[in-house]
Chain length 210, copies 2
């Protein structure tokens, strides 16, 4: 009983380290977030990151695994949903917007590492591949069925994801940047609908396009 209580506490400490680590990695980057600040905010001792994860990098990777697993699972679920390939691509756009609404820090977690010019953080690679595989799978299905034009499917996935990711980073700054008057929620809805329509049009078969 005492042991299981201790285990529960250990689990709670690990979770708090993930939560506080995530906040600091997003606001300060991997290099800027210190183990001391993470453990202080988590009300844990200085050795807690090493004890629970092995290293600051391993904690960072755990954060990225959780965040990008969530993205990959949402996209895979939407890709496997009901409806035509076109309907499912629209559902994927909605799923990606839902993901970024719940995890607006996701781009910030990797943006500085990408700015450094090195490879993207290791845990993101297989998960971004899953995202692209799910999208290209739906496109290939549409191409097989003759309802989508035969371009390399990764280009369709690029059109979908690049617009969603860019909007998740720049969206909150768009009204001020472009001097347009629009409520953030309205803008987000309008852009999500627009991206879904753009992807649909990008893949429409030649005959139906002027």
């Amino acid at each position: 009983m005492l042991l299981s209580y201790k285990r529960m506490n250990q689990h709670a400490t690990a979770r708090t380290l993930i939560t506080e680590g995530r906040k600091l990695f997003a606001s300060k980057g991997f290099d800027g977030a210190s183990v001391r600040e993470i453990t202080t905010r988590a009300k844990a001792n200085l050795g807690a990151v090493t004890y629970h994860f092995g290293s600051k990098e391993a904690l960072y990777h755990t954060v990225l695994e959780e965040v990008f697993d969530d993205l990959a699972m949402r996209v895979e679920a939407a890709a496997a949903g009901p409806g035509t390939p076109d309907t499912r691509l629209r559902a994927i756009v909605a799923a990606v917007f839902d993901f970024f609404r719940g995890a607006p820090d996701a781009p910030l977690l990797v943006i500085r590492e990408i700015a450094k010019g090195g490879p993207p953080p290791m845990p993101t690679v297989p998960r971004v591949r899953r995202v692209f595989a799910a999208i290209t799978g739906v496109i290939a299905e549409g191409q097989e069925a003759g309802t989508m034009r035969r371009i390399p499917p990764f280009l369709g996935a690029f059109t979908l994801m690049s617009q969603c990711v860019w909007f998740s980073v720049m969206g909150p700054r768009m009204p001020a940047m472009l001097n347009i008057q629009i409520a953030p929620a309205t803008l987000s809805e309008q852009v999500a609908d627009h991206i879904a329509e753009v992807v649909s049009r990008a893949l429409a078969v030649e005959d139906s396009h002027a």
Copy 2:
């Protein structure tokens, strides 16, 4: 004669500070680039940044003005070029790709400031507005002529710029990230053509679209 020679040297120092500052701001961010390192690389004395620009921030702003003026001018030139609105939007995509080929560091110069969550660096705002104004102007023209569908023009500009910017950042990493075999130059050409086609389809009038 002596004075004009001295002025030439002063001008040369200012230019070298801009060049070396740009490299360091791109690789280390505004905070990471120290005045000491900039002046050392420029073979200037420690006070040279203050003497020529007033502050590190003013040097950073000078760099951003030059880089984003170049982008704005290229887009404005393509927007004012010959051909139909559709042809000119395609020319704008090509111009933006040309810009990023010559200035692959442009996103890196601002990405960390954006990651901080504050407003974008001041000199980028009027220049990004010029870019969007040029693109939305062409779209509005197409809408007037009845050859482009009536969506808010900024959405068309968003579709154009978001894909170009995302590719300029992630393009070099795409083949490894997505595990596809393609030469970088081929990929760049293929994506530029694809974006131009996507923008064209995004704006095609309803009747001509299934």
